[in-house]
Amino acid sequence: MLEIKNLHVEVEGKEILRGIDLSVEDGTVHAIMGPNGSGKSTLSYVLAGKEEYEVTAGEVLFNGRNLLEMEPDERAAAGVFLAFQYPIEIPGVGTMTFLRTALNAQRKARGEGELSTPEFMRLVREAAQRLNISSEMLKRPLNVGFSGGEKKRNEILQMALLAPTLCVMDETDSGLDIDALRIVAEGVNALRAPNRSFVVITHYQRLLNHIVPDVVHVMSRGRIVRTGGPELALELEEKGYADYVEEAA
């Protein structure tokens, strides 16, 4: 599904990612853990196609295609989704208008027809219900007046509707209380499928109690410094990141 080879990325002349190698097979869940500032969000933005990040070396293949050559919207239509660490508020753009525009844009890019209004409404209602998102929230402008937890749930709602094949989730758990965490995790688990993979970025192990990963990576100073099974997350929970911060320093 996703093949990252020797990826080097700079922002404003400063090297943030310093040689990432990562291979995500179909249907697997990879967790990326690491201290603040290690480059986790940078990696997620580079995958989604944010402009200000300059790739200075390496390559990223998504189902064999060169992801780095694609526009952000092309990547989305091809099946890449990023659940943002800090979902943005967009005053004046209604949540429903946004959802519908996004869904139809992707369908169009894939040569599928637009959804009818009743079909669209039914899809949104079902997905929203599962994530405990009220119809009142859906009436507001995108993320405007949403609490931190509501914004995160709204990201998962978009993920559920757009049905991507590669879901990159950047600290979706931060700012969620335990109930919301469970709701989000159930939403994610419901999406697990043989042809869908997840890259779950998190600072804490607790999300991984609910979304059990196949592989856990530790990132430090722009590199993946360790890879293991789910037990690695438990070890980190116990010992913290002190080893990695020091090792990199």
Binding site: G49, E51, D73, L82, I88, I90, G92, F98, T101, A102
Partner: protein, 442 residues
């Protein structure tokens, strides 16, 4: 007196010739002559005149076509069919084509019992009371007004009766028809009676390929306790020059909310000169301008608080693409007696291309001490983070930009607060943005 040494521009010379050729047998001849002298003494305003610093009309208006030839009924009807911005709004209609009232195209059904109407021309023919009203505005203070008084042809004399609650909006449609350049000059005088409620729509439209000119002055007397929404939609043809003044005077406790929607014309200046002549009145003065190509759109506002306890809220937004230029000038005057004035002015511009330009001049002149007044202004580009967010969800760049521009403009349009009018203007904005695609990505 005109300075003998000043050399007239080609357009001024042409105007002098057109004026000399006007019918000499006219009941307001004196008024016309005084006004035209006042105009000629200063000529077309230019950038060294403070009020016209950003809209150098001497430079922008090189030609001055003569008074428009009245349109034949078929041409008029065809032109009117294109003036459809408010088709979704239940409305009566007073139609002016090339500056002349067209009774057969007008429709007062549903409001006839609540209003009195006559065409200005019919008043002029009788001489009469209208002369006094004209005398009430000093043409020396504005070249638009001076030219209007000099060349006025017709207009709506409209009165909404005391206490009337109009069941439909009333549109004053100003349409230019035909393929020949011409000057249409209208003077509308509207009085909204005590406690009356009305939505008035003032629309301007015309053909794209004709270098015609519009000069329209609209005076509005808003009596005590009246509530009025006043929406101007300027969709003139692409070669047109459009000069418009809206001059409302507002009595005690009245609410007057004007909105200026501007997308048309090569050069347009929309002036609102609003005066509070009563206490505890309020005005929500808003507008949007969207420009592309080489358009020049100017919104100029003077809000005069002379009496206590009045509130004015100003919100103007502009989206400027191509090589176009937007101008906002807003002045709030608070006179010594106008204690407890609340005046808040905001202007926001979005530049859609490298060649786009926006000039912004907010001014507060405050002579009272117990007031709350403020102004703010922003001028920027489309937010990159918002754009990226939308694109990351599969929305392509131009569609994402459209959504964001629409959202930006909608914030002002929605303040109109009347759903049919709001959706008509939002649809127009969407339409404009659809045609704007190539400019955005330039």
């Amino acid at each position: 007196m005109a300075e003998p040494t000043r050399i007239r521009t080609k357009a001024e010379e042409a105007l002098a010739n057109h004026f000399a050729a006007l019918d000499g047998d006219d009941p307001i001849r004196e008024i016309r002559a005084t006004a035209f002298d006042a105009f000629l003494s200063k000529g077309l305003p230019h950038r060294r005149i403070e009020d016209w610093k950003y809209t150098d009309l001497r430079n922008l208006m090189r030609e001055a076509p003569g008074p428009a030839v009245p349109a034949g009924i078929d041409d008029a009807r065809a032109a009117l069919a294109g003036a459809d911005v408010f088709d979704g709004v239940d409305r009566a209609r007073l139609v002016f084509v090339n500056g002349v009232f067209m009774p057969s195209l007008s429709d007062m059904a549903g409001v006839a019992g609540d209003i009195e109407f006559a065409s200005l021309n019919a008043f002029l023919a009788r001489g009469g009371a209208v002369l006094d009203r004209f005398a009430g505005t000093d043409p020396g203070e504005s070249p638009i007004l001076a030219l209007n008084s000099a060349f006025v042809r017709d207009g709506a004399i409209l009165r909404v009766k005391d206490g009337a609650k109009l069941s439909r909006a009333v549109e004053i449609a100003n349409v230019f028809a035909g393929g020949k350049p011409g000057l249409q000059t209208m003077r509308h005088q509207v009085r909204i009676g005590r406690g009356a409620e009305a939505t008035i729509l003032e629309t301007f439209s015309g053909p794209d390929g004709v270098a015609y000119q519009t000069n329209a002055v609209t005076e509005v007397q808003v009596d005590a306790d009246a509530r009025v929404r006043w929406v101007v939609a300027q969709e003139e043809g692409a070669e047109a020059i459009h000069l418009h003044m809206l001059i409302p005077r507002i009595a005690d406790r009245a609410v007057f909310d004007p909105f200026n929607f501007a997308t048309g014309a090569r050069v347009a200046r929309a002036e609102i000169r609003l005066a509070f002549e009563g206490e505890a009145a309020s005005a929500g003065i808003r507008g949007i301008a969207v420009a592309r190509g080489r358009q020049h759109l100017d919104a100029t506002l003077i809000v005069d608080h002379a009496l206590p306890n009045c509130t004015s809220k100003e919100l103007f937004k502009a989206a400027i693409g191509g090589e176009a230029k937007g101008v906002f000038q807003g002045k709030i005057i608070v006179r010594p007696d106008a204690q407890k004035t609340d005046g808040q002015m905001m202007s926001q511009a979005l530049l859609l291309s490298d060649g786009a330009e926006f000039s912004n001049k907010p001014e507060l002149e405050i002579f009272a001490d117990d007031v709350i007044c403020g102004h703010g202004a922003t001028c920027g580009q489309i937010d990159e983070d918002m754009l990226f967010f939308l694109r990351s969800r599969g929305i392509d760049k131009s569609e994402a930009e459209r959504l964001l521009i629409q959202a930006f403009l909608a914030e002002a349009i929605e303040e109109i607060g009347e759903e049919a009018v709001v959706s008509a203007l939002e649809a127009r904005t969407r339409h404009w943005l659809g045609a704007e695609q190539e400019v955005l990505s330039a």
